[in-house]
């Protein structure tokens, strides 16, 4: 009996090659390709006066140099605004190579192609660019003040005013029993995958076709963008995402300048060209996220129940807006979390600054939203002298209130209607898991050791699996192999395994026979991409539906062959048989052969399928009307709206009052992503997300100075957590299936990172009795805060100190 693998912690199939050095990442491809390198702006804002390549021309190994002047047709136009929106009134994008102006350090100015990367960089060093520096805008406060502008024709530095509201919040606040207002900040961080971006392009001049490999999260979309910009017919371009060394959102943006320029050069030069960025390039020319200033006003009754919530947020979108206002939308719509918020307004001003562009990084605006909501809950609790878990409990949407309409419009243009969940259950499991009621005792113990101790928590609801669709193709070959493909991509989520589990279970075949391909436009042409925790929801369901189509056809053909009723048949270990009669059936591989009537018997299997093989009915065509040859099926899953996962984290910190070092001594997670295909993979996603949450709360910050120079553009000074910074995590699960899709799945990819900053801020505040209103926080900053007489103290003020 084939074990049903769906829901099991199946060991990953991709690990066979990845643990033996046989992965195939972008830079592993194309050893004979020419190498591209870029001259990038050293200034945050400047006019390009002159580009002098004279000194570079005699470098041996130089093949070509390109500047904006060399771009023609659509390549000379601005890069696209991928996601326009009516409220994005001033979208601006850059050019593949800077057109007279640079607006952030790192913006590409010239592309060099040479015989290898070392020589290409030698050439870059010799190109002399003369700039006229312009005033620089860094940070939302400077953007708002607008003493200088990033774009001449955007005098207030505002790209969009995003508004979501469910009623008259000002009236509701006036009528509230209590109100409080506060301002808080969260700083920039970034996805920072271990592998940077890269592009390899090969033009086949005989065939007039282009093949591009890109370390991307959206190969179908990159394909469309390249075809459009290089003015090629779509069918002449194929794009493949190879093994990708992490994405976390930064690789969803497209087309990067390099994704257009490298293929352009490959076509012009008639040779393969490859570019893979180095770490410094990634810091200054990929994308960042997270920076926001938040002003919150909340109205609540004497029991701590919120009656009105008003959030005014300034979001730093960097120098350009290629990804539109997705992050502001997500912050605005996810802020309400698992709570009943009778009247809500969110205004998000998206601001230009002379810094790297801001596009989604795991969480994509949700961590900021959670930070706003959860810190509001903490302040309400503090004001009323209530337990922070209790205040949350009183505001939760109840288990019997689903589907729950928050009356907001999500990033997919569809309503925010929570399909299912049990937030009460999350909170109960969380308080038990972390030992919330024992904190007082832990605190006393810590104090006896001369240390401060505090606990914090944060809950979230996460819209996942937005559409518009994904597809799946399942095909059984005459060899018995089952090919599965879907158009979205993989960056370590284990899709080759999880999707194989689905097919193995649906089709009743050994998983060893199933081979999954993702992100290859040669294999599946219609797709959206991997982001917003959507792959399992979208491709998982599409693949399941495709597998069911194959199953249905297999049973239909087998019913004929076995002279049985399809409803009496089952598939076990890849063999279709009458239920409960092993050894009497017909293998799927034979059905695959039989499904394709042939004229020529070129091998034994084919012989079975030729038109002369069996009696057949001479009055019927070999391929019935409406049928097709082959044992395969393509299907799509397109959701009516997103499905909403949820979770809750709690953190206990100990702080050393001599060094102000913050140690996380307990990190508890309760997590609900509906049905889990592979619980081991889900847990891995949570672990990774938590590490990024901890990094964002305590260590990671993009340190731009007032001149727009990124001072920590390397791992020396941008502090990504090592193992020593990441606490052990205890995890409990809850499962509230989604009623919106056949498998009941909700997304899990971003969950781990969403509440980290909020929960850790809350814990530090609890430990020190000082208001924590700016994250991340370092020991030095905490030290300064503790010594600042004007620093706001909490009402409970449990911190003991100097």
């Amino acid at each position: 009996m084939t074990t049903k693998l769906f829901g099991e912690p199946v060991r990953r199939r991709e690990d066979v090659r990845l643990t033996t050095g046989r992965g195939r990442y972008l830079d592993d491809i194309g050893h004979t390709a020419l190498a591209a390198a870029f001259v990038r702006s050293p200034h945050a804002h400047a006019r390009i006066v002159d580009i002098d390549v004279e000194a570079a021309l005699d470098v041996e190994g130089l093949v070509a140099i390109y500047t904006y002047e060399d771009l023609t047709g659509r390549m000379a136009e601005p890069l696209p605004v991928l996601i326009p929106h009516p409220q994005l009134h001033a979208p601006r994008t850059g050019y593949p190579l800077a057109n007279g102006v640079v607006r952030h350090v790192g913006e590409p100015v010239a592309m060099v192609v040479a015989t290898d990367r070392y020589i290409a960089e030698d050439v870059c060093d010799r190109i002399v660019v003369t700039y006229d520096e312009l005033p620089v805008v860094v940070g939302v406060d400077a953007a708002v003040a607008a003493a200088a502008t990033v774009h001449d024709d955007v005098p207030d530095n505002v790209s969009a005013h995003h508004l979501q509201e469910t009623g008259d919040v000002e009236a509701a606040l006036r009528g509230a029993e209590n109100t409080l207002s506060f301002t808080q900040y969260v700083e920039r961080s970034a996805s920072t995958p271990m592998e940077g971006k890269g592009v390899h392009a090969r033009w086949d001049a005989d065939d007039k076709s282009l093949r591009v490999y890109s370390s991307t999260q959206a190969s179908t979309s990159v394909r469309a963008a390249i075809a459009a910009k290089l003015e090629l017919s779509l069918d002449r371009v194929e794009v493949i995402a190879p093994d990708v060394g992490g994405g976390f959102g930064v690789k969803i943006v497209h087309p990067w300048p390099e994704e257009l320029l490298v293929p352009m050069a490959a076509i012009a030069l008639g040779q393969e060209v490859k570019w893979s960025e180095d770490r410094r390039e990634h810091f200054i020319s990929a994308a960042h996220e997270r920076q926001q200033k938040q002003e919150i006003t909340v109205g609540f009754d004497d029991d701590g129940r919120i009656t009105a919530l008003d959030a005014h947020i300034w979001h730093d979108n960097g120098a350009y807006t290629p990804y539109g206002i997705i992050i502001p939308i997500i912050t605005a719509t996810q802020l309400v979390g698992p709570y009943v918020i009778p009247v809500y307004r969110a205004r998000v001003e998206s601001m230009y600054t002379n810094t790297v562009i801001v596009t989604p990084y795991r969480g994509a605006g949700r961590p900021q939203a959670c930070y706003a909501m959860e810190r509001t809950m903490d302040r309400i609790a503090d004001k009323l002298g209530l337990d922070r878990a209790e205040v949350r409990r009183r505001n939760l949407i109840q288990p019997d209130q689903f589907p729950y309409d928050q009356q907001l419009i999500f990033q997919d243009g569809r309503p925010v209607i929570y399909d299912s969940g049990n937030y009460q259950g999350l909170l109960e499991k969380l308080t038990a898991l972390v030992g919330w009621d024992d904190v007082a005792g832990l605190r006393a113990d810590a104090e006896s050791r001369g240390r401060l101790l505090g606990a914090g928590m944060a809950l979230y609801v996460e819209g996942t699996g937005p559409g518009p669709y994904e597809g799946g193709h399942v095909q059984v070959l005459g060899s018995g192999k089952v090919l599965v493909s879907t158009g979205l991509t993989s960056q370590g989520q284990g899709h080759e395994t999880a999707f194989a589990q689905i097919v193995a279970t649906e089709l009743g075949v050994p998983i060893e026979d199933v081979e999954v391909t993702t992100g290859d436009t040669r294999r599946f042409g219609y797709a959206v991409g991997t982001f917003a925790s959507r792959a399992a929801v979208m491709s998982g369901n599409a693949i399941a539906l495709a597998a069911r189509g194959v199953r249905e056809k297999a049973l239909r053909i087998a019913a004929d062959v076995l002279e049985a009723d399809a409803t009496d048949l089952e598939i076990d270990e890849g063999v279709v048989q009458v239920k409960g009669t092993p050894g009497t059936g017909v293998p799927l591989r034979t059905l695959a052969v039989l499904s394709n009537p042939l004229r020529y018997a070129f091998d034994e299997a084919a012989q079975q399928a030729t038109q002369f093989a069996g009696p057949g009915d001479a009055s019927l065509p070999p391929v019935a009307v409406g049928d097709a040859p082959g044992l395969e099926h393509i299907d799509y899953y397109s959701p009516v709206r997103s499905t909403f996962a949820s979770g809750a984290h709690a953190v206990i910190v100990e702080i050393d009052p001599a060094t102000w070092e913050i140690e996380i001594v307990k990190y508890a997670v309760v997590h609900d992503c509906g049905t889990m295909i592979n619980p081991m993979i889900v847990e891995g996603q949570v672990h990774g997300g938590v590490a990024q949450g901890v990094g964002g709360a305590l260590y990671e910050r993009m340190a731009y100075d007032a001149d727009g120079q990124l001072q920590n553009a390397s791992f020396m000074d941008f502090l990504m957590p090592y193992a020593s910074e990441v606490p052990a995590v205890v995890i409990d699960h809850q499962v509230t299936k989604s009623p919106l899709n056949p498998l009941g799945i909700k997304g899990a990819g971003e969950a781990g990172v969403i509440p980290g900053t909020a929960a850790i801020a809350s814990a530090i505040e609890d430990a020190t009795g000082r208001r924590i209103a700016s994250m991340p926080i370092s020991p030095t900053e905490l030290y300064d805060l503790m010594r600042d007489e004007n620093a706001e103290r909490t009402a409970r003020g449990t911190g003991v100190l100097t």
């Binding site: 030698d122 180095d278 891995g684 990441v726």
Partner: protein
């Protein structure tokens, strides 16, 4: 600068004598990957912090992005491709740490993995595995490499698993 000084280096890589003629400024990471075709070693930062490029030079873990190829002329280098042993029957016997990584889901995207595998393999091979591994030893073995995907929990689990296997290879 159009004429690079070149040198022919002889390096025993994964037990096999290899030769390459490289510019003297060629990093060992690039020489392994592009001149010798061993792309298992990955480059994550080129400033010696992330550890993805870690190889064993005469058995010692070193950052190949901080070494020039000419510096290991005449020496032996082990990359991730060389951790498995020949099983004498035409197949490969994986190092216990490679098996452990698979068993414990200690990798997701796999980009940092080679650097962890070489470092941990060297560390486990150098210790007395008849003694149980301690938490401090585990922390030491994983503490110098960055991973963005896994949060390290399963990597630590894999180290304990591998050490246990090496203690009791049944």
């Amino acid at each position: 600068m159009s004429v690079d000084l070149e040198r022919t280096v002889s390096i025993t890589v994964n037990g096999v004598p290899r030769e390459a003629t490289v510019p003297v400024r060629r990093l060992l990471s690039d020489a392994l990957r592009h001149d010798l075709g061993l792309t298992g070693t990955h480059v994550g930062c080129e400033h010696g912090v992330c550890g993805a490029c870690t190889v064993l030079v005469d058995g010692e873990p070193m950052r190949s992005c901080l070494l020039l190829a000419v510096q290991v002329d005449g020496r032996s280098v082990t990359t991730v491709e060389g951790l498995a042993r020949d099983d004498g029957r035409g197949g490969q016997l994986l190092h216990p740490v490679q098996e452990a990584f698979r068993e414990c889901h200690a990798l997701q995207c796999g980009f940092c993995t080679p650097g962890f595998l070489t470092t941990i393999a060297a560390g486990l091979d150098a210790r007395d595995n008849s003694v149980d591994i301690t938490d401090d030893e585990v922390d030491e073995l994983v503490g110098g490499n960055l991973c963005r995907c896994t949060g390290y929990a399963n990597i630590k689990k894999a180290v304990r698993h591998a050490a246990a296997t090496m203690k009791d290879p049944r």
